[in-house]
Symmetry: none
Subunit: 223 residues, 2 copies
DNA sequence: CCTCCTTGAGCCATTATTGAACCAATTTGG
DNA sequence: CCAAATTGGTTCAATAATGGCTCAAGGAGG
């Protein structure tokens, strides 16, 4: 028997909620019934339901039951939830808008030590023959470019995209799209970006980043 | 058995992590299970997991388990929380990146009825002399442009920005920057955007939106 | 020979789950 | 209107799972 049953129940409940299982009257079965159904103690179900209540998915009333919260489509939570369904094509389009701009900002705004940390990520990535390690430092390279763009909002948007890309539907796609040859290509393109940053040339940095993202897009979407 | 068993396990774990094996709930098996599976002592697994924890790939909690750092659901909340502190200057910079692109997309992708709904928002805004009413339809105009860009992710990013801009520090700023003269200016600029959309001219739409945002920026930041 | 890593074992501190009981608010049915 | 049933809220002790830590013995490589 695995542990952390509550977390698994949260996932299962989320699945059922989004599948519309209880959308009719918006009422969820009593905790005691759910406990029976999942074969766990009521306390465990209570913990799971509590988490869903905390993040605003459910509302509980003593003596009445537990209900789906009426979703405010303009709440931050709802917006982020909808973002989780973002398609790779849509996201690549936004990356092509934001990352070249971030590179351009970085060329003018970055401190020398920040640029060194970008170079460090680049070199570590190039030295990695192991795919997951390369992937990690590749992501780190892009992240550090955003970090020295000196626009905190831009940086956080990139964080958001990074989290979204770490959700399960993306894994298969990344796995399919990587190869040794492409790793070498990426290293060369990163080098061009880094060179432009070092030379403090915003336009060259923007251009180099755009070229790189077009390569990534081709590999990812097979265009 | 050669030495450096722990390093090999690090590589194997990285592989599995990047293949998405534990992406669903972000939890990796207990150290004791991994030790059994790899046929090594628990101490060795601990060393490997320790390395991955050190470089930020994993997070460990006594009594709970070991988790992928990137799928930590709190990290999404943390990102959004940090976004709430976004400065007007940073956001204007991003708006100037995204909204002209959205207008350009809209010029090519929008359906006729979508364009009509943009025009409707525009006309209602122009007819409003009351500041909160104008404000509402002004925001609605921009939102509808994003809505017909046919990029859901872009649309949600704009929703996010809209919510952030509706928080208190922004309210004062908007109130200060508003005047009858500016309202008329905005109406004219919106008209130019709408005309470009109606003529299905992406470049003109991008340009008109950029000009408008530069006006907004000047008024908002006093530059 | 010395150093570092692995092994296997044991114990600790923290956390999660269980099962139970009782309370408080609400609904249901007579 | 009242009583019973239903439902979430709270607490508690016992058990199990999990990472944190230490130690002694064995082994591989310099």
């Amino acid at each position: 028997m695995p542990r952390l049953v509550a977390a698994d129940i949260v996932i299962e409940l989320r699945k059922r909620i989004s599948s519309g299982e209880w959308a009719e009257n918006g009422r969820i079965p009593p905790e005691r019934d759910l406990a029976d159904e999942f074969g766990v103690a009521r306390n465990t179900v209570r913990r799971a339901v509590g988490l869903l209540e905390q993040d605003g998915t459910l509302v509980r009333h003593v003596g009445r039951g537990t209900f789906l919260a009426t979703v405010d489509p303009n709440s931050l939570g709802a917006v982020v939830a909808r973002m989780e369904g973002t398609s790779p094509a849509d996201m690549m389009e936004i990356r092509k808008l934001l990352e070249p701009a971030a590179a351009s900002f970085a060329a003018t705004n970055a401190s020398t030590s920040e640029l060194n940390s970008v170079r460090e990520a680049h070199e570590t990535a190039c030295d990695s023959t192991d795919m997951p390690v390369f992937e990690h430092w590749d992501a780190e390279f892009h992240h550090r470019v955003f970090a020295c763009s000196r626009n905190d909002f831009l940086k956080e948007i990139h964080n958001l995209m990074r989290i979204l890309r770490n959700q399960s539907p993306w894994f298969e796609m990344k796995k399919r799209s990587f190869s040794e040859e492409r790793r070498v290509t990426y290293c060369g393109e990163h080098q061009a970006i880094l060179d432009a940053l070092m030379q403090r040339d915003p336009d060259a940095a923007r251009q180099a980043m755009l070229i790189h993202l077009q390569t990534v897009e081709r590999n990812l979407l097979g265009r």
